[in-house]
């Protein structure tokens, strides 16, 4: 059975704060298991977003894109996003808005309501540890995520 919420966690664990997405993914997986909520969320971890992730949006009620941010507000941004061509130029790593747009064009319908959780990173060097600031951002993001998963409705997420 398709989980109503899909969460994409994006990043490379070996490149400093680019690990934010995978670290959140791991912590969220454990929390979901402890809360017996694994049926509610499908977690998808990948290095980068790409076109095939549009297929993972099929049959969802909500979608969440979790990623590190460079030069983005700390500790994180959480906001609703919409399909867009304007945000898309690269195709090796699509921004979340472009994934939504690919879904719209392929399926001929609107994608599920979607949000981005972008936690600010400070350093992305190969082999570097995550920075204390990023780890603090992960803690703050987890508090939000636990609330979001507990109340997985569009109205609650918009509030």
């Amino acid at each position: 059975m398709t989980a109503p919420l899909v969460a994409f966690a994006v990043g490379n664990p070996s490149r400093g704060d680019d690990a934010i997405g995978p670290v959140i993914c791991g912590r969220l997986a454990k929390w979901l298991e402890n809360q017996n909520l694994t049926d509610r969320v499908e977690l998808i971890e990948d290095f980068q977003l790409n076109v095939e992730h549009a297929l993972d949006l099929q049959g969802r009620e909500l979608a969440l894109f979790i990623d590190a941010g460079e030069n983005t507000p700390a500790p994180f941004i959480f906001e609703q996003i919409f399909p867009s061509t304007a945000a898309s130029y690269t195709t090796h790593a699509l921004p979340p808005q472009a994934v939504l747009q690919v879904y719209r064009q392929m399926e001929g319908t609107e994608p599920p309501p979607s949000f981005v959780l972008c936690v600010r990173g400070e350093g992305f060097e190969l082999g570097a540890e995550m920075t204390p600031a990023a780890l603090g951002g992960v803690d703050a993001a987890m508090t939000l995520l636990e609330r979001l998963v507990t109340k997985p409705t569009l109205a609650d997420w918009r509030a």
Binding site: G11, R15, E45, V51, T90, A93
Partner: protein, 487 residues
């Protein structure tokens, strides 16, 4: 095959155009173009940051961790690094010949990787240029634009890539960070259910791949003036070839030809690669420049990847792809085709071959066997070579008595193509930028040339907020005369 335009005689008198980073290639690259007062191109260089740091990152780690660690080199083709490392470590553990099950499972994984990577490249990286033209509206010349104008093509691209990734998932165990290959074999066979699930779709995949070959063939043949000459340069070329000279992405011996197709070397055991290939360091680039030792660094550089492979082999073992190879060879007129845009045509022939091989393997019961591992006499050094989507990939390791890596040397496909990409960019810059205004269309011509090689810029990092493209025109004093950016 010269260094013409690489180094200007009096760069202090020139203006500098910087394209940084190159868009729609992974990570960051930069093109610098030095112009004189008459806007004549004097110097062109493609700068790419290579992951030399990764080799140090690996040193000191237990060798059995390496096949998993190296997947973090590249977010687009982690399987290639996974398998090249595993092949090198097969030598370390003395596994001279894998079990049929292990080799076929690895081959299945690799051909799934080739399929998904080539599909991504063609449908989502290059088809916008090919379907809309190099000078078309920048806001539409992307995958979203393709999806809007050609929804069926875009959908097939997504499904082809998805299928390839499913092949990787069932053979590697996971969608990312898979552990399917281990030194000496594989740690997982296919289940009947997994095989049958893939079999349901494979015949569509083969047909869509045939259609893709015909699409690019049509695009190419319709505009020979452009496709046969854009960014063209002549060079040597190299790949591994399999048994009897077959096209083989997984295993074989090294073969190199000159620009006329004459053999330079053949049947070379890749454990001896460093007797044939040397890497030159140049002060202006982090990325090394490999060349054939027997010819020397000025004329010994070469290209790798689909255009090299399809013309280096004697035949392709699968019928549809072999038919398409012959069509390509006939079109080229019996001599090697060197046009960079022909990479796209050959890339689709390779995608078709990958689909056909996957179909054949899925009918082979060896995939279901538990006979997965071998070992032998422990060695201290090993080399693994594979034909990755972008070209020949070398992994070379030494380990100590405590099983820790003491040396790692990687020559990735993009490094093998370094000089070739520089040559293509120089030709395009000289043709399209000389004395002209810097426009989006002109800049994209340079990017089109680079994308033909599909360079991997070693990043595997994707953080929101990065600027995909910035262009600066700088005078000899370092002042920005003009700038252009895309966001």
């Amino acid at each position: 095959m010269t260094y013409q335009l690489e180094t200007a005689q009096h760069p202090e008198k020139l203006r500098r155009v910087a394209i940084d980073p190159v868009s729609r290639v992974e990570g960051h690259g930069k093109v610098t173009i030095l112009l004189d007062d008459q806007n004549k191109v004097h110097q062109v260089r493609l700068h790419i940051v290579e992951f030399r740091g990764f080799e140090k990152f690996i040193q000191g780690r237990p060798y059995w961790e390496v096949p998993v660690m190296v997947q973090r080199l590249c977010g687009i083709c982690p399987v290639s690094h996974h398998l090249a490392a595993s092949k090198a470590l097969d030598v370390i553990v003395g596994a001279k010949r894998l079990t049929p099950t292990a080799e076929k499972l690895r081959r299945l994984m690799h051909y799934g990787q080739m399929l998904q990577s080539h599909a991504l490249h063609f449908f989502h990286l290059c088809s916008p240029d090919l379907l809309f033209g190099f000078d078309s509206d920048i806001t539409k010349r992307n995958i979203v634009g393709v999806a809007a104008a050609h929804p069926e093509i875009a959908k097939r691209g997504v499904l082809l890539r998805k299928f390839g990734q499913e092949v990787i998932r069932v053979t590697a165990g996971k969608r990312v960070h898979g552990t399917g290959a281990v030194p000496g074999g594989v740690n997982k066979s296919l289940t009947i259910a997994e095989r049958d699930e893939l079999l349901k779709d494979i015949y569509h995949i083969v047909q869509w791949s045939r259609d893709a070959v015909h699409l690019i063939q049509k695009v190419h043949i319709q505009d020979p003036g452009l496709y046969n000459s854009f960014g063209i340069f002549r060079s040597n070329f190299m790949s591994i070839v399999g048994h009897n000279g077959d096209l083989d992405f997984y295993h074989g011996t090294l073969r190199a030809r000159d620009d006329n197709g004459k053999l330079i070397f053949d049947g070379v055991d890749y454990q001896q690669y460093d007797k044939y290939i040397e890497e030159e360091v140049r002060p202006w680039s982090y990325m090394k420049f490999p060349f054939f030792k027997s010819i020397g660094k000025e004329h010994g550089w070469y290209k790798v990847g689909p255009l090299a492979r399809v013309q280096n082999c004697d035949q392709i073992s699968t019928p549809f792809a072999e038919h398409e190879r012959k069509e390509f060879v006939d079109y080229a007129g019996g001599t090697p085709m060197h046009a960079p845009l022909a990479y796209h045509w050959t890339r689709m022939i390779e995608m078709l071959h990958a689909a056909e091989v996957i179909k054949d393997l899925l009918h082979d019961d060896d995939l279901l066997s538990d006979d997965r591992m071998v070992e032998g006499e422990r060695q201290m050094e090993g080399v693994g070579v594979i034909e990755a989507p972008r070209g020949t990939l070398f992994h070379h390791y030494r380990v100590d008595e405590n099983d820790l890596i003491t040396m790692a040397n990687l020559i990735v496909s993009t490094t093998n193509n370094n000089q070739a990409m520089n040559e293509a960019v120089r030709h395009v810059a000289r043709r399209y930028l000389n004395g002209r205004e810097v426009t989006e269309g002109l800049l994209n011509h340079i990017e089109v040339a680079i994308r033909a090689f599909d360079p991997c810029l070693s990043c595997a990092t994707h953080a929101l907020g990065k600027m995909p493209l910035a262009v600066e025109l700088v005078d000899p004093e370092g002042n920005i005369v003009h700038s252009l950016s895309r966001s």
